[in-house]
């Protein structure tokens, strides 16, 4: 039985709000959703599992219409979906009230329910969120019957405030597949037969790496899973090394080269590393303008050879100061910085 598992589409969201590419991203979410529907037809998938947060908030009428339109283009796939914490059920149930196409099945209650497909001999279990927070581990006690029928659990959550999930328990509960949603970075545990599909399009700079949907197959031999990348853009982290003599122009050149090779469409977080530039400061605005740059993080440190300085000034206040600061615990970031600032100040080089 072939299926496609997706989650956390967050249709209607405006990622990176305020940035020049934000509106394009909002549209790309719809485009990628449409792509996934095309994939269902192309791969001749029997089931499309949507593990929650299809919408970023309760959807507008026209958003429901558009989603239904795309789902309506499926020519042989049955759709099973649920509401997650972002698009959870409200008092007036707009999901149930909407005239979905026949092949679209929605878990309209907050209790775990089942939907059975006789021609696939597959039963899908699931429920929908009624609130933005659920702290009970609802999925822990589930156990499907052991028989020929394939059992799939459609679930959303995995942290304290959104249905805590213990993967080991689910792995041994007897499901042929646990289709998870809520975590935006895809993660597959093939042996345990469960996976987070991740959001098909990355939504924040923390979502590094490939994003897409999971194409899976359940046979008598087991469950095979594969992540199919589908995102139109990725978030990337670019490190640029800097020394005291680096000029803005040099840096821009290097940046432009890197952007070209990493893909201009992608969205970048720049990190400047190395020794801080002395003299004329780097023009950060110019860097931001070179492409889709989310932000520039300055991790440069002033050039200090502490060992040498300590040796040279063993007898005076600098030596004494370094000794004092070394007495602080290792990982104390504040102490590390204080050491740097103090030495620089005493040497007369603090800016």
């Amino acid at each position: 039985m072939k299926f496609i598992h997706m989650a956390d589409m967050h249709l209607g969201a405006l990622p990176d709000g305020g940035k020049p590419w934000s509106e394009a991203r909002a549209k790309e979410l719809w485009d990628t959703f449409s792509d996934i529907c095309d994939a269902c037809n192309r791969e001749r998938a029997d089931l499309l599992l949507i593990a929650g947060d299809l919408f970023d908030r309760q959807p507008l009428k026209k958003e429901l219409k558009q989603a239904a339109y795309h789902l309506g283009r499926l020519n042989r796939t049955q759709v099973v979906w649920m509401a997650g914490d972002a698009d959870h059920l409200r008092e007036k149930d707009i999901y149930a009230a909407y005239p979905w196409p026949e092949h679209v099945h929605f878990f309209s209650g907050e209790q775990v329910d089942k939907v059975y497909f006789p021609f696939l001999d597959t039963e899908v279990w699931g429920m929908s969120y009624g609130h933005s927070h659920i702290s009970e581990p609802i999925y822990d006690e589930l156990s499907p019957e052991i028989n020929e029928t394939y059992h799939i659990l459609l679930a959303h959550g995995g942290d304290e405030e959104h249905i805590p999930i213990r993967r080991q328990m689910l792995a041994t509960a007897g499901f042929d597949y646990v289709a998870l949603g809520h975590v935006h970075t895809p993660q597959i545990w093939e042996r345990e037969k469960c996976a987070y599909a991740g959001s098909p399009e990355p939504l924040s700079p923390k979502d590094l790496g490939p994003h897409g949907y999971i194409l899976g197959e359940i046979t008598s031999e087991g469950t095979r899973l594969r992540l199919v990348p589908a995102a139109r853009r990725t978030y990337k982290r670019l490190e640029l090394s800097v020394n005291p003599h680096t000029t803005t122009r040099e840096l821009l050149e290097e940046l432009r080269e890197d952007l070209a090779s990493e893909g201009m469409a992608n969205i970048f977080t720049l990190v400047l590393t190395g020794s801080a530039v002395s003299g004329e400061e780097i023009d950060l605005e110019a860097l931001l303008g070179a492409g889709n740059i989310l932000e520039v993080i300055d991790e440069t440190r002033p050039e200090l050879n502490l060992a040498e300085i300590a040796r040279e000034h063993a007898g005076d206040i600098i030596g004494k100061y370094i000794e004092r600061m070394r007495a602080y615990p290792e990982k104390d970031e504040v102490a590390e910085k204080a050491l740097e600032y103090g030495v620089l100040a005493l040497l007369g080089g603090l800016k």
Partner: protein, 593 residues
């Protein structure tokens, strides 16, 4: 440690120049540029090499021998701890080396660099500048001089290093802190809270709007359904009515046609009656009664005839009577009777004719009446049909039409309202996205503030620890140094000033007899003397392990003779090897004394 010999093998303008030094006082006299600074730099280069750093590069370039013999170096013969050492160096780039040999033990010491360091008692270059190398003060004016002295005392006393200014260090840290504090964006925590609440509230609004829209939509659907139902019913009704109207119209036409036909026929029949027809009143026609003027004159004529006949008979009778009477009358009456009879008979014939004619007219009249009756029937039928038609028309475009319109209008309005609500929802969704975006910004600012606060904390910690370190130094080294300096001062000034005291940050006083004179109030010469004492004290305190030679470079340039003498005595008694470089002859003279 003492320097026994200087071997300037290839240094500056010297080649294979050897300078022998005494263990005590040494005077090197010469004009400026005659080589005093060369020797000074040579000693520095020998002790620390010429690699690394801008200053060393400068010295390297300056003293690189012009004639390019390919050699650049020299040697020192030293004495320390009872042993004699020979230190050799080549400064040439890419061929630099250092060699140290313990001549007493006949041993080469390796690694030479390390061995040299321990020989010097761990003296660093910075330390060298603070101890061995004593120049003159740089200040040109008295104020500058004073400031320089105070700074030296403070730096030595609190930082153990003349080159470090605690004041400057602390100032720059304060500036850094202020700059960091300026970058803090306040109120972000509250902003986050506010935005979270706002997002929740806008979500609620959206939900409410959706509920409202759903409600209205349901109402509209129902309304439309009803409209449709009623419309169907109404439509059917209307269709029926229209059909009825059609029928009625047809009937109407037909009846109108008939009415006209009967009217025409009547009039035609009436035409046969001629002029009389116009005199016939409708009521007569309606009732079918014969109008008076149409009544048959026959009876009248007949009556007249009969009357005439009777009259004539009467006359005859009267004649008859009269026969018995008068003949004249008889002839008249006879004539009357005949006349009357004739008239009577003519009248009768006339009556018969008229009667016959009348009968024809009567027929015509009957015809007319008949036709009129039909006309009337058709007319009234037409009239009632017309009424029904009017009624029907009224019904079709009347009250019920209004009712239907009312429902339809209401539904149209509902539809507009639903669309408006949908537009409102879109606006609300936009506001929601905007609030989320602002929340992301507030989050970022909070994170940035956190980072800044950690930086500010780091600056604070640095300041704290610097002050603490300075205090420690002051309490031990500083006090020790001031004590020593006070001793030297007393000696140097021959008891004029007996104590050097550091009060608070930068308040320095000299004890003169029983009074404490602030440093600001003493003469320039005294200031120079205090400087020397400080330097001497520092040399002692900073290098307690190894007694280092002291290099004085034009130190007494501004001293008067008396002071110079006393200074030299002080130095002689200090136990250090002293190398005085001067361009005056006075020192030599005094030494001889």
């Amino acid at each position: 440690m003492r320097i026994l010999e200087l071997h300037l093998t290839d240094f500056g303008k010297f080649h294979d120049k050897v300078v022998k030094l005494q263990p005590g006082m040494n005077i090197i006299q010469g004009r400026n540029e005659a080589g005093k600074s060369t020797i000074h730099s040579f000693i520095y280069a020998m002790l620390f090499g010429l690699e690394g750093g801008k200053e060393k590069q400068r010295i390297y370039d300056h003293y690189l021998p012009w004639d390019n013999t390919g050699a650049y170096g020299g040697a020192l013969r030293l004495e320390e701890g009872g042993h004699t050492y020979f230190l050799q160096r080549s400064f040439l780039r890419d061929h630099a080396y250092v060699a140290l040999r313990d001549e007493t033990l006949q041993e080469n010491l390796t690694p030479a660099g390390e061995a040299l360091k321990s020989l010097l008692g761990g003296l660093t270059e910075s330390g060298y500048r603070n101890t061995v190398s004593i120049g003159q003060m740089e200040g040109a004016t008295d104020d500058r001089l004073l400031a320089e002295l105070k700074n030296s005392i403070a730096s030595l006393g609190m930082a153990k290093n003349m080159e470090i200014s605690l004041q400057m260090a602390s100032d720059s840290l304060m500036r850094k802190r202020k700059s960091l504090e300026r970058q803090l964006v306040s109120g972000q925590e509250e902003e986050r809270e506010r935005l979270l609440a706002s997002i929740y509230q806008i979500s609620q609004e959206l939900t409410d709007q959706q509920d409202e829209a759903a409600g209205l939509e349901a109402e509209m659907s129902a309304g439309r359904a009803r409209e449709f139902e009623e419309f169907s019913a109404k439509h059917q009704e209307r269709e029926q009515q229209k059909k009825q109207l059609e029928d009625i119209n047809q009937e109407y036409s037909r009846l109108l046609h008939e009415k006209e036909r009967w009217q025409k026929e009547r009039d035609h029949a009436g035409g046969q009656l001629g002029r009389q027809f116009s005199r016939i009143k409708d009521e007569d026609l309606d009732s079918g009664r014969l109008p008076s003027f149409m009544r048959s004159p026959a009876p009248k004529l007949l009556a007249a005839g009969v009357l005439a006949l009777l009259l004539s008979q009467l006359c005859l009778m009267s004649y008859g009577r009269l026969l018995a009477g008068k003949e004249e009358l008889f002839s008249n009456s006879l004539y009357f009777a005949i006349g009357g009879g004739a008239v009577g008979i003519m009248a009768l014939i006339f009556a018969a004719a008229v009667h016959k004619n009348h009968k024809k007219h009567l027929n015509y009249y009957r015809l007319v009446v008949d036709k009129h009756r039909r006309f009337k029937e058709a007319s009234s039928a037409l009239h009632s049909i017309e009424n029904r038609r009017t009624q029907l028309l009224a019904e079709l475009s009347g009250e019920s039409q209004e009712e239907y319109s009312a429902l339809h209008t209401k539904n149209e309005e509902l539809e507009k309202e639903v669309m408006r609500l949908e537009w409102e929802q879109e606006q609300t969704a936009l506001r929601l996205n905007e609030a989320k975006r602002q929340l992301a910004i507030a989050d970022e600012l909070c994170a940035r503030n956190e980072k800044l606060r950690r930086e500010i904390q780091a600056v604070r910690t640095a300041l704290e620890n610097i002050y603490a370190a300075a205090d420690e130094i002051q309490d031990t080294f500083g006090d020790e140094m001031n004590e020593k300096a006070s001793g030297y001062l007393s000696e140097l000034t021959d008891g004029a000033y007996t104590e050097l005291r550091l009060e608070g940050e930068m308040r320095i006083t000299l004890k003169s007899k029983e009074r404490h004179v602030p440093l600001e109030g003493v003469s320039r010469g005294t200031i120079e003397q205090v400087y020397l004492c400080i330097r001497l004290a520092a040399a002692e305190c900073l290098s307690p392990k190894v007694s280092l030679p002291l290099l004085l470079d034009d130190t007494f340039a501004f001293y008067d003779d008396a002071r110079t003498k006393r200074a030299m005595e002080l130095l002689k008694n200090s136990g250090h090897q002293v190398l005085i470089m001067t361009c005056q002859g006075r020192e030599k003279k005094l030494l001889r004394q």
